[in-house]
């Protein structure tokens, strides 16, 4: 909200500089594996997804419903509100092999599993 009030161009420039500086520092980080999910009618689609071990994972959660949802997982240590009709991007650090459950914190019935191997 507050960012919105600042001049967009200057903000973008500043953010761009900061990001490129921060990104340049470590040797090329491993390519993140992307996981795409949609959320509609109070359920994840697909509800079972896979990702490779020892690589960062990026969830892209598209909420098609008319109300906000909160993508949450204790084992993945993520918690992010995805507003109605929008997409949320969630970064997860490299994972060990295993099963990781995720759910909508606003609606316990919506659950899914990430299998890492």
């Amino acid at each position: 909200m507050f960012y919105h009030m600042l001049t967009p161009i200057r903000l973008t420039l500043a953010a761009g500089c900061a990001v490129s500086l921060l990104h340049a520092a470590p040797a090329l980080a491993q390519q993140a594996a992307e996981v795409h999910l949609t959320y509609s009618n109070g359920a994840f689609q697909p509800s079972e997804v896979r990702a490779p071990a020892d690589r960062p994972v990026v969830f892209r959660v598209k909420n098609l419903d008319g109300k906000a949802m909160e993508f949450e997982s204790k084992s993945l240590r993520v918690e992010k509100v995805v507003a109605a009709k929008s997409e949320g991007v969630i970064n997860v650090r490299p994972l060990k092999s295993g099963r990781y459950e995720f759910y909508d914190d606003f609606n316990e019935k919506a659950r899914g599993v990430l299998t890492v191997q």
Partner: protein, 276 residues
């Protein structure tokens, strides 16, 4: 109804603890209710605004707007809490002595109250925006279940207020002399914990890369999602899987607070000696 109660309670729990501490810290400051109330109100209004613009907010900074926003408001709270501690190191005795120079203390006191009101506002904003989003979703959905969920939500809110009162009256049982030291320690750890949380948000946004590996996992001993874990998470920043940078920043905030308090406290003493 139970689900709504749990969701709302989980969010207001943290705010309840922090507001309870702030009330205890400011117990003898005149007009404190107006300031704290103002902070609460500002927090609620801001929470609704953030909820209303949640979609826009998340799209900023390549989808990392939410994380950066949370990190920023946590940083504001850390600065305010630290500033309060340092201010108290300088003026605490005057306030404890109450009647002495009360006029001056009122003027100075309101400065510190502003800092704490900001802390309250920021806390309510952070926790409240999720409650607002959830309740909005409930209101948007249809029929009788909505009324049920609203009742659940209100009960959750009432429980949050109960946590606040319990914290406040719990702290009030501590003798005044020890209370000052207790709240100073509490606020320092609160600030350190919030700083570590801000680091976690920056790391999730991939904006802070150094020392981004988990140092240990104490989840087997105390899970962060248990009720005790959650309370300690709020109060002292407990995390069962902290990253290196989180530990570094946590310790740094404590160190800086202690140093600033020493500096300002001793500066004052010398000043008094010089004047005498």
């Amino acid at each position: 109804m139970l689900a709504a109660l749990i969701i709302v309670f989980r969010e207001v729990f943290e705010a309840g603890l922090i507001v309870g501490i702030v009330l205890a810290v400011t117990r003898s400051v005149p007009r404190r209710n107006r300031w704290i109330g103002g902070g609460l109100l500002a927090g609620v209004v801001a929470a609704c605004l953030v909820a209303a613009f949640a979609g826009v907010l998340s799209q900023l900074f390549d989808g990392m707007g939410q994380e950066l926003f949370n990190a920023s408001i946590l940083a504001i709270a850390v600065v305010m809490l630290t500033w309060h501690n340092v201010w108290m190191a300088r003026h605490g005795k005057e306030i404890a002595g109450e009647m002495r120079a009360i006029g001056q203390a009122v003027v100075e006191g309101s400065k510190s109250l502003l800092a704490l009101a900001v802390v309250v506002a920021v806390t309510v904003l952070r926790e409240g925006s999720e409650v607002a989003l959830f309740l909005y979703g409930v209101a948007a959905s249809d029929g009788g279940s909505a009324a049920n969920l609203t009742i659940g939500g209100l009960m959750g809110l009432a429980l949050g207020v109960a946590v606040c009162l319990l914290t406040y009256f719990g702290l009030m049982r501590i003798p005044p002399r020890a209370l000052f030291a207790t709240t100073t320690v509490l606020i320092t750890l609160l600030a350190a914990g919030m700083a570590a949380q801000a680091v976690a948000f920056l790391q999730r946004a991939n904006w802070l890369k150094p020392l981004n590996t988990v140092m240990w996992d104490s989840g087997w001993l105390l899970s962060e999602s248990s009720i005790v874990g959650r309370a300690l998470h709020t109060l002292v920043g407990y995390t069962d899987q902290p990253t290196g940078m989180q530990v570094v920043i946590y310790l740094a905030v404590i160190l800086v607070t202690v140093m600033l308090m020493r500096l300002v406290g001793s500066g004052r003493r010398q000043h008094v000696i010089a004047a005498g």
